[in-house]
Symmetry: C2
DNA sequence: TATATTTGCTTAAACGTTTAAGCAAATATA
DNA sequence: TATATTTGCTTAAACGTTTAAGCAAATATA
């Protein structure tokens, strides 16, 4: 059907009666090629509609110009925004990204890693699945010498670059806010301790309670996978206590939403009877009734920084650099679910 | 640092004292290689931890084993689910996908197409941006002989494979449902007519009104870009009418959400004063108050079908096949926002 | 037994680049 | 003017596969 052969560097060389090597150098702006030749090459390339064969140059140079991105899921605003910003930065530098979703599954994550390694990506930017405890596959990436950058869900033991927000401080900001609203029994529906960010949020919660001289009650500290369903369950669990909390800080917006549904169903006034705070600032926190107070995770900044760190590695691969650990300040977005003043 | 050279087909050949060609054939299960040799090759490949060089085989065979996917955005459940299902099907066949987001921008979409063509993808699966009217870039894909499959946001003029739901019928189902709820003045906040799916929904709406002997009022038919913001605006516009509608059918869930926010703010009872129906069955339709009736778009099925159609092309590229146009039945999920019975 | 076919490999070239090494002509330096 | 350096290219090999063509040995066929 379409038998138009693609134009190659050779075709350009033939037109100008120079060697393909000269063409290649001209296109790469090599200083040892004359301006005159460069201009001619560029002109002919344009005329013949030359498109460089990415596979050939990748093979020869050993660089695929592809970066793998692994996220637990893309249908969360946080991850999709991070991805978009990674893409924006990397596209400008001639890189493309391959996105894979782990769906929070350890097995799927391992498959993704194998797939990306097979595709010869030049680097991997990842946020770990909830399930992941065994770091073997991540060590595999490191051992191949491929730059690995983690964001949000990281892991100290891996000893790689990391970009995230200050989870420990976020808990402090939240507790302080709730205390200022007059709350005295603050519960925490947290993530699993084995994930660093959730562990930090839990520790921040515990320390902030101490700081404000509030008692730490084991009944009020619950670990969960932070899905909507578990948010509902754990909220019910809290409501069944003899001594109910007057505030609940949930370590994820989806679980916070589940908790809110239960509170609404039980006709419990939010924030007056129980104040509610989520984490992540997903768009729906601003859509439900009442709107949910949450922590902005700076997804744009995280995406951009992750891309920059990768580029740094890509540009000087030889020098063993010291690790980049970038911790961004979190920002509390106060909304109806915790702001009693709007109800006075 | 990491100087371990990668093992190649040559290394395997050396160990077994056969030619690299024989190794390649053995790994591809060529019928002209003895079982004995195949077994030996597979064993040595395993021992040496051989990973085929995807770039080399892609260059030689002219196939990159990459498929490009273009979506308006990934942070909608519909698109992220479609993508996930495309990925699942294609991964099994050894393909990887490169996801790009157009952000509903025509320019970004064109860039994406160029990027994907540059990366030498073997095919492109796309859903068009709202802004896109000029089809030049899509024609470019076709003219290069690269399989192009559209889903959801398609375009008749392009004459390519398409997978989507029956938008015309969906409008009929919605109008029928609203009529059964006693609604007599049904408004439609639609998408732009130049996008085929929205045009079909509008035509379905018009024809369904006729069928049920309801008058068609120009004031009640509005085109929009279906963002939350425009959902709010257009709803306000409808509320400012002397003769308000008693039902609003919005062609997208996000705009429906915006409309609902306005209705809630204005203390208008939903569904009793005004019934509301969205489109897309985004998860948040089941989270807000009242829960929004919507159309399930069968994202899983659409993703899988799109992948299958691509594979069909990839497998027999020579034969000019007739086009696949797969139109799936839509399904109405009735919730509180339109179900007056639950309020009686 | 003579010829034809099949089996199981090898040889060599190719995919389209990039890059190290080298060389002649032009220019700079002493 | 003689030598050194720079400029602007060319040559040839390489990246790791795949594949068309071919060939000897083994097997089938007449």
């Amino acid at each position: 059907m379409n038998t138009k052969k693609k134009t190659t560097i050779k075709d350009i060389a033939n037109v100008l009666n120079i060697s393909p090597a000269a063409v290649s150098k001209a296109l790469h702006n090599d200083s040892r090629i004359s301006e005159k030749t460069k201009k001619a090459v560029r002109q002919v390339a344009k005329n013949l509609n030359y498109q460089p064969n990415h596979l050939a140059s990748a093979l020869r140079s050993g660089k695929s110009k592809l970066v793998g991105v692994i996220v637990p899921r893309t249908n969360s605003n946080f991850f999709s925004s991070v991805i978009q910003n990674i893409e924006e930065v990397l596209n400008k530098e001639g890189y493309n990204i391959i996105i894979t979703q782990s769906n929070e599954s350890y097995k799927k994550e391992c498959d993704s890693i194998d797939t990306l390694l097979f595709t010869q990506v030049d680097g991997i930017i990842a946020s770990m699945a909830n399930e992941t405890i065994d770091l073997f596959y991540y060590e595999k990436i490191k051992s191949k010498g491929i730059p690995l950058i983690l964001f949000d869900r990281g892991e100290n033991d891996l000893n790689v670059d990391y970009i995230g927000i200050n989870d420990y401080d976020s808990s402090h900001v939240i507790v302080k806010h709730l205390v200022s609203q007059g709350c005295k029994r603050i519960a925490h529906i947290g993530g699993f301790k084995h994930t660093r960010i959730y562990n930090n949020r839990i520790n921040g919660y515990i320390d902030a309670l101490k700081k404000h001289h509030l008692p730490l009650d084991d009944e009020l500290l619950i670990e969960s996978n932070l899905t909507i369903e578990e948010g509902r369950e754990k909220m019910k669990q809290l409501l069944s206590l003899k001594n109910r909390p007057d505030a609940v800080y949930v370590a994820g917006d989806y679980a916070a939403l589940g908790a809110l549904q239960v509170l609404n169903e039980e006709k419990i006034s939010v924030p007056n009877e129980i104040a509610l705070v989520g984490f992540g600032n997903e768009p729906f926190t601003d859509m439900v009734t009442p709107r949910i107070t949450s922590i902005n995770q700076h997804s744009e900044e995280i995406g951009k920084q992750a891309a920059f760190v990768f580029l740094k590695h890509a540009k000087n691969s030889i020098i063993k650099q010291k690790l980049d650990k970038k911790i961004l300040d979190a920002e509390l977005i106060i909304r109806d679910s915790s702001n009693k003043k709007t109800f006075l």
